[in-house]
């Protein structure tokens, strides 16, 4: 995982509540066995009509927003399934962060685990940022170390779990961190209740 420090880039506004994982990456694209290559199918049913023709109006299809790196959306973003394909597809499309008033739990964790920065701001702050994002000329800067989001006429602080931040800033591999405690795992297993089921 690449370490994250400061993200500066264009925003794409998507002011909708409860954007769910079926909308982010529809199921017909979950059949890949690879981790990459999901970007072209991001928000597929909002981006393409039933004939597969591009829907010009959709924000991510507008040439002005082609380089966007920060998605700004509504509350409960990423609700629904645990499919990591959802954050993969957002990341694969070039996004580095998502700003929203709230996220669904599993989606939020998945983002942290793949190094796509989820930023929680208040409803009012997200509304203001969405307005700023409506002009594609405007950029945003997210400083993870300082936990700030700044844009023209806008400055906000965001909270993030200190350990999640520590991992993101350093780009740590979570499994390697856990394996440092291999002895504790061995120890736990020795005392595990004998009647618990095991297969095979």
């Amino acid at each position: 995982m690449e370490p994250i420090s400061v993200i500066t880039g264009q925003m794409a506004p998507l002011p909708r509540a409860n954007v769910d994982t079926d909308a982010i990456i529809p199921k017909q694209f979950l059949k890949r066995v690879e981790r990459s290559g999901f970007g072209p199918y991001l928000f597929y049913e909002w981006a393409y009509d039933e004939e597969g023709e591009i829907i010009e109006d959709f924000i991510l299809n507008q040439p002005d927003y082609a380089a966007a790196e920060v998605l700004v959306s509504g509350p409960n973003f990423g609700s629904g399934s645990s499919r990591e394909h959802a954050p993969w597809s957002i990341e694969d499309r070039g996004f580095k962060a998502i700003v929203a008033p709230s996220f669904a739990d599993i989606f939020y964790n998945n983002c942290i685990n793949i190094g796509l920065l989820p930023v929680v701001l208040s409803n009012e702050e997200v509304a203001k940022l969405t307005e700023i994002a409506n002009d594609p000329e405007n950029f945003v800067t997210i400083d993870l170390e300082a936990q700030t989001v700044t844009a023209i006429g806008f400055e906000a602080h965001f909270d993030i779990d200190p350990f999640a931040k520590h991992r993101l800033v350093n780009g740590f591999d979570n499994i390697a961190l856990t394996l440092e405690h291999a002895e504790a795992i061995d120890f736990y297993e020795e005392s595990r209740l004998g009647f618990k089921p095991a297969l095979g």
């Binding site: 199921k27 629904g80 739990d105 599993i106 499994i175 089921p197």
Partner: protein, 469 residues
Amino acid sequence: MTTPKTMYEKIWADHVVRDGGGNEPDLLYIDLHLVHEVTSPQAFESLDLTNRTVRRPDLTLATIDHGVPTEGREFGIKDPLSKKQIDTLVANCAKHGIELYDISDIRQGIVHVIGPEQGVTQPGMTIVCGDSHTSTHGAFGALAFGIGTSEVEHVLATQTLPQTRPRSMAVNVNGELPRGVTAKDVILGIISRIGVAGGTGYVIEYRGSTIEALSMAGRMTICNMSIEGGARAGMIAPDETTFEYLRGRNYAPRGDDWDAAVTYWKSIRTDAGAVFDVEVDIDATDLAPYVSWGTNPAQTVPVTGVVPDPATFADPLERDAAQRALTYMDLEPGTPMTDVEIDRVFLGSCTNGRIEDLRAAAAVLEGKKINSEVHAMVVPGSGLVKLQAEEEGLDLIFKNAGLEWRDAGCSMCLGMNPDILMPGERAASTSNRNFEGRQGRNGRTHLVSPEMAAAAAVAGRFVDVREWS
């Protein structure tokens, strides 16, 4: 005296491998890892790339459910991508020594149906799966939650997960359920009250006389949809109903182990006087058979209700969402739900694909024919559910009524296999999500109980099962 604890706190404490001390997440031991074909290939690949192995194949169980066809299996899997995904799981399980219920195995089925069915889902366990409806297993008094693929890899490699402690919510449901009101209606009623994000950050414990009176199937239906209210996990205290369900199952403890297990299982129940961060009280006698009108599971009304007017929603984003939902669903505000005509009926899924659900639907359909305009299918939750239903003659009731009788899998719950809604088709579905495009692009899903779905199949529109005989 020790402070009274909730069940979730006790199970958590019993699984801490390493205490994070508040600054870091706790490292939790995972008792059971369930695996399916869609969310695992990238995890196995990455495990191979980093030269890591599966720590506890004996605590890992795999099945094939999301992408399998539910008819014509003898001709193989036609979709080359699904075939590759399934073959990949078969190869990964063989390589790592993981037990897999393959397409030809009678035990094959939806991952959340097979665990309980085999008795491998037990009280007091931590259970994870790369699937958000893992909350289903909480019905046994287990701490069970969905994880992403990076976490699947983490569990494969370490049999643990770093977790920050969620808050606790008690949902107390008391009173006798009115006739025709099912577990599905209880959870739809709960979600309509707390909202689709109301449970975010919480583990829910469902409590109260209504919950205690439910069968394991009903309890699983409720815990299954916890995620639809935003909660990662939902749980119900183990009691005699739980023990009776487990006794004699394949992986249930036997002899002295059984007695030790029951003693332990009883000890994990929430202590009297334990404090939850939030409590929600629901009077069961206020509940009705629900039908969803929108594109999220909180957008429901009693079947006697009407499609709401978005203008009545105070929050601008919610109003906008309701308007979008009505456009997508092609519904007019004020339309009685019983005037809404349907094209398709889907009976199945990890919410309502168990034998009890099929019996309930069959009881409604016995001796009747479904509406000639309706195309309906029954997809059992597992091969064993299918077998049991056939032994009871339920398949004949369905077939005589004009429904298709399929093989086990997720099927039209998410339509990763060929079972999908065509654009514009409207379905009464016993599944759990009515999101845009979930059951097929521009398909329109109405969530209901098995009884309501069966009655709708006959009438060709939604009807109040309470007035149906």
